[in-house]
């Protein structure tokens, strides 16, 4: 039996889709069977991020309405074996699917896949309710900004009222340089408000923009810090104990040298 994770945030544009695609790809890379379910009906883009847009024939709504079989709607990824996408309908309304139907769909997918990741739409309306309906666990994505953290807090409360009590947190787009200058909330500030377990921290990384435009997950890019972070998160999801990586790589060498010569702080 597989496990269903919903990836959610409240606020839009913080990296839910990026996180879903990359954790999914990393899980598949490690030999798991994975399906990514795009619940952002009417605003789908998981397919674009994965470069699979032109392979879509059927979508999630077709499946729940019985217009096709589940298997027909699953799009196989071109790079990662074992990775599939169940696309959202682009021209339908969010109300075209009900929480009950999502539950049934998730239960069916659980029998075939190790991991089911649901890319949740922004907001707290019907789309959110649908996306969480069939989930066993939740991953909350935020960026280190006050308004995003507020929304994440709201979402954590709503998850609890949907029986998803122990969500885990991904802090995305952290910029060490800004944190050091005191211009960005640091990890502690964020954890202090949200008070849930930390699944991982993903640095702000231009490789994400580059790879997204190419329609491939950033974990396929060598030497990308964000890619490494997502691979680590996937490992933690599988139960491995992976230490948090040093996001401060570049400067730490300089700092070490400075310290060696006694000119740095501390």
């Amino acid at each position: 039996m597989g496990e269903v994770y919903v990836v959610t945030s409240g606020k839009g544009g913080v990296g839910k889709t990026t996180t879903t695609a990359n954790i999914g790809a990393a899980l598949a890379m490690e030999g798991n069977s994975v399906v990514l379910l795009d619940a952002d009906i009417g605003l789908r883009n998981l397919d674009v991020v994965l470069g699979l847009e032109n392979r879509i024939v059927y979508d999630l709504i077709d499946v729940v309405e019985g217009a096709c079989r589940l298997k027909q709607a699953l799009v196989k990824d071109k790079r990662f074996d074992g990775l599939f996408l169940l696309p959202a309908a682009q021209t339908r309304d969010k109300d075209a699917v009900s929480p009950k139907q999502m539950q049934d769909l998730c239960n069916e997918l659980k029998e075939q896949f190790d991991y089911i990741l649901i890319d949740c739409p922004a907001g707290i309306e019907q789309g959110f309710k649908n996306a969480v309906a069939g989930a066993d666990k939740a991953i909350v994505v935020t960026i280190p900004e006050v308004s995003a953290v507020r929304d994440a807090d709201r979402i954590i409360g709503l998850l609890a009222s949907n029986d998803l009590h122990y969500p885990e947190l991904v802090i995305n787009r952290l910029r060490i340089d800004m944190v050091k200058r005191g211009d960005m909330m640091n990890i502690e500030d964020t954890m202090d408000i949200l008070g849930i377990d930390l699944l991982g921290v993903v640095p702000d990384d231009e490789n994400i923009v580059i790879s997204t435009n190419r329609g491939e997950p950033v974990i396929a890019t060598r030497n990308s810090l964000a890619g490494k972070a997502f691979i680590n998160i996937a490992k933690r999801i599988q139960g491995f104990d992976v230490p948090t990586m040093d996001l401060d790589e570049d400067s730490s060498i300089v700092d070490k040298l400075k310290r060696l010569f006694g000119i740095g702080k501390k």
Partner: protein
């Protein structure tokens, strides 16, 4: 006191309804309806006892009133035509007080968008995050960070207090006094603090056990 008015007051386990000597049934229902609607969430899921005082109500008026109120809240025990003096005495013994009375314990973090309403005292064993609201008839004690809004003594009790291990609310209200936190973010205190009213001013001080003068 206006002669045709209706006043509501929270008492232990329910509400006291004072009816002015000239208030007709229709205006009573209208006033009551508005007042109950505006505090619906307050009475949600609880049985509310009603004590009517002031003008005497005849049988048909009583029946209509109870029927009307039952549509809005879950009505428990109802007493009619309680003389004011007797009622006053009864109130003193039974009012939700800031010294004793019912207390709600909330275990966990109260998050953005969540609200805890209670007629008595509220103790939160966790944080109250920005965007969350705690509204109590009596005192509020937060065994954690209070960063949201807290309103103690919501029915006008000026003796109500707010204590938090870390008191940095977006807004703090006691009785009908409202204060907000200073805009210039000062370093958050690392000791418990207490907020209380003196006259119409809200004071915040370090909470020192045994030195309570409020």
């Amino acid at each position: 006191m206006k002669e045709n008015k209706v006043f509501l007051k929270g008492i232990l386990g329910g509400l006291q309804v004072y009816i002015g000597p000239d208030a007709g049934l229709e205006s009573i229902m209208k006033e009551l309806g508005q007042k109950l609607d505006s505090s619906k969430s307050f009475f949600k899921d609880t049985e509310v006892n009603l004590v009517f005082t002031g003008r005497e109500l005849n049988e048909s008026e009583r029946n209509e009133l109870v029927g009307f109120i039952s549509q809005k809240i879950h009505v428990g025990n109802v007493e009619f035509n309680i003389p004011i003096e007797k009622e006053e005495a009864k109130m003193d013994a039974a009012t939700y007080s800031t010294d004793e009375g019912m207390t709600k314990f909330y275990k966990g973090t109260v998050r953005n968008g969540q609200r805890i309403d209670y007629q008595g005292n509220i103790i939160v064993m966790g944080d109250v995050n920005p965007g969350a609201e705690i509204v109590a008839g009596g005192n509020i004690i937060v065994l954690g960070n209070l960063r949201g809004m807290a309103h103690a003594g919501v029915s006008g009790d000026k003796r109500a207090i707010v204590i938090a291990l870390c008191l940095q609310p977006t807004q703090l209200r006691i009785g009908n006094v409202i204060t907000r936190s200073p805009e210039d973010e000062t370093e958050k205190p690392h000791y418990p603090e207490i907020a209380y009213l003196k006259g119409n001013n809200l004071f915040i001080e370090p909470y020192l056990p045994g030195k309570i003068k409020y």
